[in-house]
């Protein structure tokens, strides 16, 4: 079985994230780049399948600037077999349309049985790219799974929606997305880190993939919200509850 995992490099959410004031694009220098937590869990799912069936091949695919190669190396050190990096300056500032077209084009040549992604990323939060990829490829989509059982050319799983849960299933090839309820990713060990250096990483440009680079959407303007100021802080000496109720009354909140 061949599984391609989409991983995304994002700014670490442990610090304040920034947009470039002129373009509205992500300021990549403002934070440490890390693999998005949910896509790391997606990789963990693929690696668990491989743990059970050694013949499974796990490929990681990412689109991003040259520093995203670090994310690929990390994934390789965790146990993925090879990487594909969609890398092209023309793709900087790509919107959902371009990103999904480029990733779908890269996937077309992989003959993947399964494509696994995170249900949404911590920076974009659109939660749309995997669905667009599924539509490009004509694969069934199993989005926002809470659990996944991958066997005999079939994925089954429980899916979270606003109304509750659903049990869903689809045959290979398919696109599935995991939620943050999935297991945390394993840590790379020393052997993995050493081995990662020898694993192959292919680089693909926009023209090789035959995708354009003109976004369909454009940012018109952006404004930064001033930081919130701290208000009044009181130490409870027995009267805090009454002060709180008075505060809510004065603010007309009750």
């Amino acid at each position: 079985m061949k599984i391609v995992v989409l991983i995304k490099q994002v700014p670490d959410t442990a610090e304040e994230r920034r947009l470039e004031p002129d373009t509205g694009r992500l300021d990549r220098d403002a934070n440490e780049p890390v693999i998005d937590e949910i896509t790391e869990r997606a990789l963990e799912l693929a690696l668990t399948v491989k743990d059970k069936d050694k013949s499974t091949e796990v490929v990681v695919l990412t689109m991003g600037p040259s520093e995203a190669s670090k994310a690929i190396r990390k994934a390789l050190s965790m146990g993925a077999d090879s990487g594909i990096h969609v890398l092209d300056d023309a793709l900087s500032g790509a919107d959902l349309t371009i990103t999904s077209a480029a990733l779908a084009a890269a996937l077309r040549n992989t003959d993947a049985d399964l494509v696994i992604a995170g249900n949404e990323s911590t920076d974009g939060r659109a939660g749309i790219v995997p669905a667009m990829i599924a539509e490009h490829l004509g694969y069934p989509l199993l989005g926002s799974l809470l659990s996944a059982d991958i066997t005999h050319g079939m994925v089954t799983g429980e899916r979270q929606t606003e109304a509750g849960t659903q049990n869903v299933r689809a045959p290979f090839p398919a696109v599935l997305t995991v939620t943050e309820g999935f297991d945390e990713a394993r840590f790379p060990n020393f052997k993995g880190i050493m081995g990662a250096k020898r694993k192959p990483v292919a680089t693909l440009s926009a023209s090789e993939l035959g995708v354009g680079s003109t976004p369909r959407s454009s940012v018109l303007d952006l404004a930064e919200r001033p930081a919130r100021a701290a208000g009044r802080k009181i130490v409870d000496g027995g009267a805090a509850a009454a002060e709180l109720v008075d505060f809510l009354t004065a603010q007309r909140l009750i």
Binding site: E16, G127, V129, A131, R169, P215, R216, S217, A223, R228
Partner: protein, 322 residues
């Protein structure tokens, strides 16, 4: 007025979802709202009345036996059919699990552009401009899709108003069976409908509990204060991970984004990922034992104290008031 196509995700039990009101309100500002539904049988007159009450001028009622057994595709097919029939100037869907997938797939099918997770949309100089709240409200960004069909997902609970009621004109269309490989829905387990408490998304008051509550039993204190304030219940991720409450209550970076009038944080440290989901609240109140907890940096009123001492007193005082 141009048509605005709106995806209404009817549940498998035929309910109109809470997101419909806000979606139709935005649509009415941009043009004539055309609600798109998918159902296995004829559309229920009650559903038609509800959608009319929320401002649907037309209903494009798609029917297919696969409405609730094939995942996603019937919605995408219905939307594509409505786009062809009504030549809209935009398509709106909720930024829900189903809505965003349908929006993305429709964009690929129609060659449209996507504007995701918007908190508002308006007409400016004849074009549709969307407003986005980025990085937990740190930035407000305006965007547009200049040349092709804009397909817009709207954050649930972000829109307050309601469109004027209309008497909808209903067109029923029969969808052809989906071709190609599909995802099958084998069964549903509906979350119990919470009729006594407001929904977290869009609630005017939210009371959230964190790891500081200590246990699932103790977490009831959060619910008691919420009920005393007529509030929705939220939680930090640590409280969710510890099993105090279900994931659907998670507020923050990877949970729900809320912008209530009042947000009360109980036993929550205020990690940056939590603040990203609530710092746009109008007023923030925090109760935490640790005087250095980061939540106090953004709280309008911070109480350094034990939730198990302070909160029961607050509930008592609120009872005495009423």
């Amino acid at each position: 007025m141009p048509n605005i196509v709106v995806l209404i995700e009817l549940t498998h039990t035929g309910h109109v979802p809470a997101s419909a009101r806000g979606l139709l309100a935005v649509a009415a500002r941009l043009g004539t709202p055309v609600a798109v539904t998918v159902s296995a049988g004829a559309l229920d007159p009650v559903t038609i009345a509800v959608l009319g009450g929320l401002g649907a001028a037309r209903i494009h009622a798609a029917q297919t036996e696969a409405a609730h057994t094939v995942l996603g595709t019937p919605m995408v097919d219905a939307l594509a059919d409505a786009v062809a029939a009504h030549a809209p100037s935009a398509v709106l869907a909720a930024a829900s699990v189903d809505g965003r997938e349908a929006a993305g797939r429709l964009a690929v099918r129609t060659g449209g552009g996507v504007l995701a997770d918007v908190v508002d949309a308006s007409l400016a100089d004849g074009r549709i401009v969307t407003e986005h709240s980025v990085f937990g409200g740190s930035y407000t960004v305006h965007a547009t899709v200049p040349d092709v069909l804009p397909i817009i997902t709207v954050r649930s609970g972000a829109v307050d108003d309601q469109a004027p009621a209309a008497t909808p004109e209903v067109t029923t269309v029969q969808l052809a069976p989906a071709t190609g490989s599909q995802t099958t829905i084998d069964s549903y387990a509906d979350a119990p409908e919470n009729l006594s408490r407001p929904e977290l998304r869009g609630a005017a008051t939210v009371v959230s509990g964190g790891r500081g509550l200590g246990s699932e039993e103790n977490f009831v204190l959060v619910e008691q204060l919420a009920d005393a304030l007529g509030a929705a219940v939220g939680a930090s991720r640590a409280a969710v991970d510890a099993g105090f409450i279900s994931q659907t209550a998670q507020v923050g970076q990877t949970g729900v984004s809320v912008s209530p009038q009042l947000y009360v944080a109980l036993g929550i440290s205020g990690a940056i990922q939590h603040r990203a989901g609530m710092q746009t609240a109008k007023t923030i109140v925090a109760i935490n034992q640790d005087e250095d907890a980061p939540i106090f940096e953004i709280a309008d009123l911070g109480i350094v104290g034990d939730v198990f001492t302070v909160v029961p007193q607050v509930i008592e005082l609120l009872k005495n008031r009423s």
